[in-house]
């Protein structure tokens, strides 16, 4: 009697009752269902929706672990306990157990809340509607803790997750029917609902909020400032981090989006396991570079005054935009969401390019909302079906023309 058999028995016991979908989901999440075909002419593939989701989660695990180390590192750095590391990606001062534990105890609750609340909503909907529990939340649940600031209050996260799953996904009919990426819907909700917890110079470093509360209460300690690079640039200040810091991810930011290096590796993994679309990733990068070059050109040509509030962001070296903020994370893990992205190959190029293009544009022109990639992806999610429609229509027209040439 293994776990599988027990689960199967539970499933049979609740067959036909209201809770059946819940037990069925547990069973198929862990094992291949018992009622698959065994003979005949069927081709069996193991990569169902759950396996696909699990592959993405696998690609996210390094980011979670890095995020935990980075949380502790940023905490110590901001409080002046340690000096900035200089020894490259593997320098031992960064990868300490102490750093990890600080991050672990901050990030674990985020993950638990995200999965607990999100899957709870999914189970409730499945039971009310009497259909199978949908797997869509498996990846979303892992993405959400990675794209929020580390100090976000847990109740806010719960409210946002309920909103994102219900309004972003369930009202459209569940997994596969949603127009907007649910994880980004959750982040956008947080962003507009509780802007003080989603931007500024306090929330990105563990403990900075507490410290500023102590100062308000009258404690005589130094204020902690841990601004993201985009926030710094939007205010026209100098960035103190080196390009390598940005690439390795030793910078403040949302929990899991700082390390461009690991995101790059995760992206390659997704491309080689044929889960993420390389067309979208590549075209988005090209789009961002194009927009960055245009802005650099404008700044170099002197069309914009140096005192302008856009100048600092505009004159940022164009490829630095790929390393800072959530751009890399958004493009690799969010824009490639197979449900909300364009489906046609030509459409993917257009969709990706515009995401990159708009991300940088929003970044530069809207200092109040420095994270352009979130808004750009949500915007292009809305346009993806339109792009597909015109790509397909264009194809139809081309073929009709070919028929006409042949028949005449």
């Amino acid at each position: 009697m293994g776990l599988k058999q027990n689960l199967h028995k539970l499933k049979e016991k609740y067959e036909g009752t209201k809770a059946a979908p819940a037990f069925n989901a547990l069973h198929t999440f862990l094992y291949t269902p018992n009622d698959t075909t065994h003979n005949g002419t069927h081709i069996k593939a193991v990569d169902d929706l759950k396996r696909t989701m699990n592959t993405v989660i696998l690609a996210l695990i390094p980011l979670v672990i890095f995020g935990m180390f980075n949380a502790g590192y940023q905490h110590h750095l901001a409080f002046g306990d340690i000096q900035a590391v200089t020894g490259g990606f593997f320098s031992s001062e960064f990868w300490t157990l102490d750093n990890f534990m600080i991050g672990f105890w901050k990030i674990l609750p985020l993950i638990i809340i995200s999965y607990g609340v999100g899957l709870g909503v999914e189970f409730i909907f499945a039971i009310i509607k009497g259909h199978e529990v949908e797997e869509g939340y498996l990846v979303t649940g892992m993405l959400v803790p990675l794209i929020v600031p580390i100090d976000i209050p847990l109740w806010m996260l719960s409210v946002a997750v309920i909103f994102g799953v219900v309004i972003g996904k369930e009202v459209f009919g569940g997994t596969g029917m949603n127009i907007l990426n649910p994880a980004l819907t959750i982040r956008a909700f947080l962003f507009f609902a509780y802007p003080t917890w989603m931007s500024g110079d306090k929330v990105w470093v563990n403990g900075a909020v507490e410290r500023s509360n102590e100062i308000i209460a009258g404690a005589k300690v130094d204020a902690i400032s841990g601004e993201t690079l985009l926030g710094t640039l939007a205010q026209g200040k100098e960035v103190v981090y080196s390009v390598w810091d940005m690439f390795y991810g030793f910078i403040p930011g949302s929990v899991g989006e700082t390390s461009t290096l690991l995101i790059l590796l995760g992206g390659l993994f997704l491309i080689f396991s044929k889960i993420g679309s390389w067309r979208i990733m590549l075209s988005a990068t090209l789009g961002a570079l194009a927009m960055g070059l245009i802005f650099n050109g404008i700044a170099d040509a002197g069309w914009i005054a140096e005192g302008s509030k856009f100048y600092t962001l505009m004159s940022t070296t164009f490829w630095h935009h790929l390393l800072i903020g959530g751009f890399a994370f958004g493009v690799v893990y969010m824009a490639t969401d197979p449900v909300t992205a364009s489906q046609t190959n030509k459409g993917k190029w257009i969709y990706g390019f515009l995401i990159g293009f708009m991300s940088i544009m929003i970044r530069v022109f809207n200092p109040a909302y420095p994270e352009g990639v979130m808004l750009a992806i949500l915007l292009m999610n809305v346009f993806a079906p339109t792009i597909d429609h015109y790509v397909v229509q264009g194809n139809v027209k081309k073929r009709l023309k070919r028929i006409k040439v042949k028949t005449t």
Partner: protein, 215 residues
């Protein structure tokens, strides 16, 4: 028999539930999104529409046999415009602050689809008493939705009801705020009004199977 016959009573009760102008006919959405961030504004808007629609319906109903049908829209517009100006001036005289909050939306009652819709669909074909009841019913149906949306938006967005703090003081951190609660800034924005309205429609339709459209 009470004050109203059964048919007459239906003129008032139908628009409140199964034939609600906002949630079922989806009319008057523009103002429902724009002014429901505060409960007080919602209430005043509801009363204004009640006044304009019930009086307007009676006036149009009285004139229904003498209006040439070619110019009936213009006549209807003049009636609404006259009534809206009365409302606007009354608000400016007695509730200046509120009229500033409502700004152009009082003026835009003229273009509220519910009003023109009722004139066209009901007042032109029925007597003044029925038209009056129909006006009351429809504007109450509109007002109820406005007040529900306004209630949730003001409570969750500002922590107040009619401007009175009910959840504590966000600056001094009393009441709910002392345990870390914060106002939701998103719900004040128009997109959330649309979503709150959508949720009301969702609940209403899931409770009444007859309202679900075939597709």
């Amino acid at each position: 028999m009470g004050l109203l016959s059964k048919k007459d009573a239906q003129l008032i009760t139908d628009p409140l539930t199964d034939n609600n102008p906002v949630t079922i006919q989806v009319l008057g959405i523009c103002s429902a999104l724009a002014i429901t961030a505060e409960l007080e504004a919602s209430l005043v808007m509801a009363i204004s529409v009640l006044f304009v629609l019930s009086i307007g319906n009676v006036v149009i109903s009285l004139m229904r046999n003498i209006i040439p049908s070619k110019i009936r829209i213009i006549v209807q517009l003049i009636v609404v415009a006259a009534l809206v100006i009365v409302v606007d001036l009354v608000l400016k005289a007695f509730a200046y602050e509120l009229s500033k909050t409502l700004s152009v939306f009082v003026g835009l009652i003229i273009t509220n689809c519910i009003i023109m819709g009722r004139f066209e669909a009901f007042a032109l074909a029925n007597g003044p008493w029925k038209a009056f009841l129909d006006g009351i019913g429809n504007s109450l149906g509109y007002g109820v939705i406005l007040i529900i949306v306004g209630f949730f938006r003001e409570l969750l967005g500002s922590g107040t009801l009619f401007g009175i703090p009910v959840l504590g003081d966000p600056i001094a951190k009393t009441g709910l705020y002392s345990i870390g609660y914060e106002n939701n800034g998103f719900i004040i924005m128009p997109p959330m009004a649309l979503i709150v309205l959508g949720i009301i429609i969702w609940i209403q339709r899931s409770r009444n199977e007859a309202l679900i459209e075939e597709h």
